[in-house]
C-alpha cells in the first residue's frame, strides 16, 4: 500500500488541453440536459447505456478511466452506487450532484431519486451544469448560459402543456406499478398510487394489491400505468382483476435501445397517455 500514498491526484492531471470539456452523464435524462446546455462545445459520455436499468449499473475500467479524465461528471447521489463510488475515488471535485439543488420528496421515509420527471427540475439541472461549464470553459460561458435558458424555455413550454393538458380531468388519481412519478404528480396536482415502492424489482404483496383494487373501485379508476423497462405483469394482473386497462407510462430512467425519442418527446407521449386515460378535456 505504501507506493500508492502521495500520488492519488496524478491520474487526473491530463485534462489541461484546451479542447472540448469532457462531460460524463450518469444516465439518460442527465445526458439530455448536457446535450442541450453544452451543444457542440462539449464531449458527452453516458455511463448507462440505453435500455439498462440504471439502479444496478456496473462500471468497466475504461468507464472509470473516463470518469477520472472527465471535466464534469453529472450524477444523482444515492441513485447508482457504482457511480457514487467511482466519483468518490476519481472525481471528487469535478462532480455535479444535480440532486443537491432540488427539494427532495420522500416516499415512505426514503429519498425519491426520480427528480427528472418534473420539468422544473430539469431547468435547475441545466442551470447548474451551465454554471459549472462556464467556470471551466470561460470562452464559451455565454453560449452555455444561453443554452441553459433555451432548455429552461423548453421546460416551461412542456410544463405549460402538462398544466393545461391535465387541468380538467375526470380522475386525478394515477395508479402506477412503481413509485417513480411522485415529482410529476406533485408538479401537476395528480395523486400517485403506487402498487410497489421506489424500487421496481420487489414482489408486490397481495394485501397491497387488494387495497389498490378497492381504491380503484371506489375512485372509479380505469387505468393502471406500467413501465417500459420493467415487467408489466403487476399492472396487467391488477387490471384484469379490476377491469381496468394497462397503459405504458415511461419513467424515463433510460431510453429503449435504438429509440429516436428524447426527453421532451417521451414526456409528451406520457402526457398524451395521461390525458387519454384520466379523462382529461383540453
Amino acid at each position: 500500500a505504501l507506493l500508492l500514498v502521495g500520488c492519488s491526484a496524478s491520474g487526473s492531471a491530463t485534462t489541461s488541453t484546451r479542447s472540448h470539456p469532457k462531460v460524463v452523464a450518469a444516465f439518460y435524462p442527465l445526458q439530455f440536459a448536457a446535450e442541450q446546455v453544452g451543444g457542440s462545445h462539449i464531449d458527452i459520455t453516458t455511463l448507462t447505456q440505453a435500455g439498462v436499468e440504471p439502479h444496478d449499473l456496473e462500471l468497466s475500467a475504461q468507464q472509470v478511466a473516463s470518469i477520472a479524465s472527465a471535466d464534469v461528471v453529472l450524477y444523482i447521489k444515492g441513485f447508482q452506487p457504482a457511480v457514487d463510488d467511482a466519483i468518490a475515488q476519481e472525481a471528487a471535485g469535478k462532480a455535479v450532484d444535480v440532486g443537491a439543488e432540488i427539494t427532495h420528496l420522500t416516499t415512505g421515509g426514503a429519498v425519491d431519486p426520480h427528480i427528472w420527471l418534473d420539468p422544473a427540475n430539469m431547468t435547475a439541472i441545466g442551470n447548474a451544469l451551465a454554471n459549472r461549464l462556464a467556470s471551466i470553459d470561460p470562452d464559451h460561458a455565454a453560449t452555455y448560459r444561453t443554452n441553459a435558458r433555451a432548455l429552461a424555455a423548453q421546460m416551461v413550454v412542456l410544463a405549460r402543456q402538462y398544466q393545461s393538458g391535465l387541468a380538467r380531468c375526470a380522475s386525478r388519481t394515477i395508479v402506477v406499478s412503481h413509485a417513480a412519478f411522485a415529482y410529476l404528480a406533485k408538479a401537476f396536482g395528480l395523486q400517485q398510487v403506487a402498487i410497489m415502492g421506489l424500487s421496481p424489482d420487489a414482489e408486490p404483496s397481495p394485501a397491497r394489491m387488494a387495497q389498490v383494487a378497492q381504491l380503484m373501485r371506489a375512485d372509479h379508476v380505469h387505468t393502471i400505468y406500467s413501465e417500459t423497462l420493467v415487467s408489466p405483469k403487476v399492472a396487467q394482473t391488477l387490471a384484469q382483476t379490476t377491469g381496468a386497462k394497462a397503459v405504458v407510462l415511461d419513467p424515463l430512467e433510460g431510453l429503449k435501445p435504438g429509440s429516436t425519442d428524447n426527453y421532451v418527446s417521451v414526456m409528451q407521449a406520457n402526457l398524451t397517455a395521461l390525458q387519454a386515460n384520466q379523462g382529461c378535456r383540453s
Partner: protein
C-alpha cells in the same frame, strides 16, 4: 373471508399449493445429491440465457430454458469428467452464470440486468391463468417422471456405482434429475418467482429429514410441509402486507425450526458431525 373474492388470490392460492406440494418431491433428490442451492444457481444461469438471447436477438424465454437445461447437463458433465463434487460443480456453474450474465449484458450494448429481470421474474400475486396451465403441466411432468423413473433416480442418488452395475444409465438419469430441477426452476420463476420456487424445493425437505427415517417419508413429509407453508404464508401475506414469496419461505423456515426443537428430545445423540 374476503380473501377469495379476488381472482388473483384464487390463482395465487392454487399456484402456491401446486408448487408447495410438488417442488419438494424434486428437492429431496437435489438435497441427496448435494445440489441444495441448484434453484438459485439455475436462476442465474437462466439470466445468462436471457442476456445471450438479447445479444443474439433470439426469443428470451426459450433461450433461458435451453441455457438452464445446458447448465443442468454441464453440472453432471463436470461431476462425471473432472473429479469434482456436486456442490462444487454447482458453484462453478453459479459463479459462471453470474459472470456470464454480467458480461453478456455489458457486451450487448443497452441491455442491463434490469431488462433481463423483466423476462424472468414472476410473482405469486401476478399469476395469470396461462401461468397456472404451465404449472399444472409441470406438476404432471414431475409426477409422470417420478412414477416412471423414480426408482432409478433413487438408486442413482443412493450409490451411483452400484446403480451402474444394475444397468441404470447413471449419466442419463443424473442429467434427467438436474434437467427436471432446471425446468421446475425456470417455469417456477416465471410464474411464482425465483425465491419461492428454489426455496420451497429445499426448505421443507430439510425440515422433514430431521425426524424421518426413510427417503419416501422425507419426500412425503416435505411435500406436506411445503403445501402447509405455501397456504399459510400466502394467507398471512394477505393480511400482513408483505410479499407472499418471502412470507411462504419464512413460514417454511419456521417449520424447520419447530421440527428441530421437537426433534432434540427425540434424538439426543451426536455431539459432533
Amino acid at each position: 373471508m374476503g380473501l377469495l373474492d379476488y381472482d388473483f388470490m384464487r390463482r395465487a392460492l392454487l399456484a402456491a399449493a401446486l408448487i408447495g406440494l410438488f417442488a419438494p418431491l424434486i428437492g429431496v433428490f437435489l438435497v441427496q445429491r448435494r445440489l441444495a442451492l441448484l434453484g438459485d444457481g439455475m436462476g442465474h444461469v437462466a439470466l445468462t440465457g436471457v442476456g445471450l438471447a438479447l445479444l443474439l436477438r433470439t426469443a428470451p424465454i426459450p433461450t433461458a430454458m435451453i441455457t438452464a437445461a445446458a447448465g443442468a447437463f454441464l453440472i453432471e458433465f463436470i461431476r462425471a469428467r473432472s473429479r469434482t463434487a456436486g456442490d462444487v460443480a454447482l458453484a462453478l456453474l453459479f459463479y459462471g452464470g453470474i459472470a456470464g450474465g454480467v458480461l453478456f449484458a455489458s457486451l450487448a450494448p443497452g441491455q442491463g440486468t434490469g431488462t433481463l429481470n423483466a423476462y424472468l421474474f414472476g410473482s405469486l400475486s401476478t399469476v395469470a391463468a396461462s401461468d397456472l396451465i404451465a404449472l399444472v403441466i409441470l406438476c404432471a411432468i414431475i409426477v409422470i417422471t417420478l412414477v416412471v423413473f423414480g426408482r432409478e433416480m433413487f438408486a442413482v442418488s443412493l450409490d451411483a456405482q452400484i446403480a451402474a452395475t444394475q444397468g441404470v444409465a447413471v449419466r442419463s438419469i443424473s442429467t434427467m434429475m438436474a434437467m427436471l430441477a432446471a425446468i421446475v426452476v425456470v417455469v417456477g420463476m416465471r410464474t411464482v418467482g425465483l425465491l419461492l420456487v428454489s426455496a420451497i424445493m429445499i426448505v421443507p425437505v430439510a425440515a422433514a429429514q430431521q425426524i424421518t427415517r426413510s427417503f419416501r417419508a422425507t419426500a412425503a413429509l416435505g411435500s406436506a410441509l411445503g403445501l402447509t407453508a405455501s397456504v399459510l404464508g400466502l394467507v398471512g401475506s394477505y393480511y400482513v402486507q408483505v410479499p407472499p414469496g418471502p412470507a411462504i419461505v419464512i413460514v417454511a423456515l419456521g417449520g424447520f425450526a419447530v421440527i428441530a426443537v421437537v426433534a432434540v428430545p427425540v434424538r439426543r445423540y451426536r455431539t459432533t458431525r
